[in-house]
């Protein structure tokens, strides 16, 4: 049973921030509520006050600008999945969204809500880390930006200070010859990931050497993480199957899986060994075509 709470539906970001400043720790932000309501129903989260930002239309947008794609925090998953500009400029994001939960959940759930929930098995954070996205958060003192990889801290814990709200995600324009891919492993199509990997590969001009690579892992650590050592295996080299295999093995040592009902720690490490080469290879193929 959900415990009683007082409900506020601010009309503007300013109003929302004022409410967060006023109620501090006693309040929780809800947007689509697709994750939060489950926890509230189980009694795991029981806020006294709810600041409902689902109606904050000023944060509901997808913009294609000079410094990349900008997505407002209250944009629904389904809007991103179907957006023509996302499909064209950042297809991996649309592909990820299509694998996220079910259509009904994507219709109401929002991108900002998903990342702020901090579920290590959530899909978007993994892709944002691989794409080197920047998150903008607003608070009483103003705005600050941080890389996506610094946002996911621990199990259901993100780098939001009291009174702060995630407002925007910026995906930078990728360098030339860059390709990205996302792989999600789960047993039921609309379920959370048992393990997931996102990779972005940038090739040098003409030589086919891997100039830059970013690999992110989901559901295999208490938070979405970047597999930096695995990236080092590939950086500056011409990517071969043998190197990909090695990168997968290294990534498996960087993972710190939490066993749960879906899979054991060992099984998840094995998945990382398979999914890192597979995903990076796909990103490489796309980089070659880009």
């Amino acid at each position: 049973m959900i415990k009683d709470f007082e409900h506020f539906a601010p009309k503007t970001l300013k109003e929302a921030l004022a409410l967060l400043a006023k109620y501090g720790d006693d309040c929780k932000v809800i947007c689509g509520g697709q994750s939060l309501l489950i926890l509230m129903r189980q009694g795991l989260v029981a806020p006294k006050y709810i600041v409902d930002i689902k109606g904050l239309d000023e944060l509901n947008y997808i913009k294609d600008g000079k410094d990349g794609l900008k997505i407002g925090a209250t944009t629904t998953h389904r809007t991103i999945e179907k957006s023509a500009v996302i499909k064209k400029k950042c297809p991996v994001l649309a592909e990820m969204e299509k694998r996220l939960a079910s259509i009904q959940t994507r219709n109401w759930g929002t991108i900002g809500g998903n990342i702020c929930h901090g579920d290590p098995a959530g899909d978007p954070a993994v892709v944002f880390i691989a794409l080197n996205a920047t998150l903008t958060v607003a608070g009483a003192k103003g705005e600050r930006n941080m890389p996506a990889e610094d946002f996911t801290l621990d199990y259901f814990e993100v780098a939001l200070e009291d009174g702060e709200l995630l407002t925007e995600i910026t995906i930078p324009v990728p360098p030339p010859r860059t390709g990205a891919a996302y792989t999600k492993f789960n047993l039921i199509e609309s379920d959370l990931a048992t393990a997931s990997v996102a990779a972005s590969v940038t090739l040098g001009s003409g030589d086919g050497v891997c100039q830059d690579v970013r690999i992110a892992l989901g559901a295999v650590a208490p938070a979405a993480i970047r597999a930096k050592k695995a990236e080092e295996v590939l950086k500056g080299k011409k990517i071969t199957d043998a190197l990909l295999k090695e990168a997968g093995e290294v990534a498996a040592t960087e993972a710190a899986p939490v066993p749960d009902i879906s899979a054991s720690e060992e099984y998840r490490r094995e998945l990382v060994k398979v999914l890192v080469p597979r995903t990076t290879k796909e990103a490489l193929a796309r980089a070659k075509k880009a």
Partner: protein
Amino acid sequence: MKKQLKFKVNGQPYEIFVEPKKLLVEVLRDFIGLTGTKRGCNSSSCGACTVMLNGVSVKSCSVLALQANGAEVVTVEGLAKGNKLSSLQEAFLDHGAFQCGFCTSGMLMSSTALLTENPKPTKQEIKEGIDGNICRCTGYNSIIRAVTAVVKGEYKEAQ
């Protein structure tokens, strides 16, 4: 403290006062009495509670009722026009697209949402369209056959 919820369900305006913790499915079933929308898993997994909210399908067990303030909701009761069932409802009957029937209203809402968005889906797209709905009797094939029959134009929509 109760708050006002003003919205339309199947075209009918309602103005009620609800506790903020009430979910859309609870308001539809317990306050308005539209029990066609089923409360199944209560955890956003089964899809039996699917309704249309401002034109998109949602799981009403996972939406705060107050978020429907000012919105238009369509439940399975709103699919028929008077005594004439919708094409999908007719096709579900003809193809025996249910066994116990518990998932049916959710299946109908998801397939209605699918055909509204994409009137000519492929078989794969139909499967994806009802991916968020579980039929525990596993009668998926007949459901897909029913939707396919509508896609092929075998039914005439009620005016």
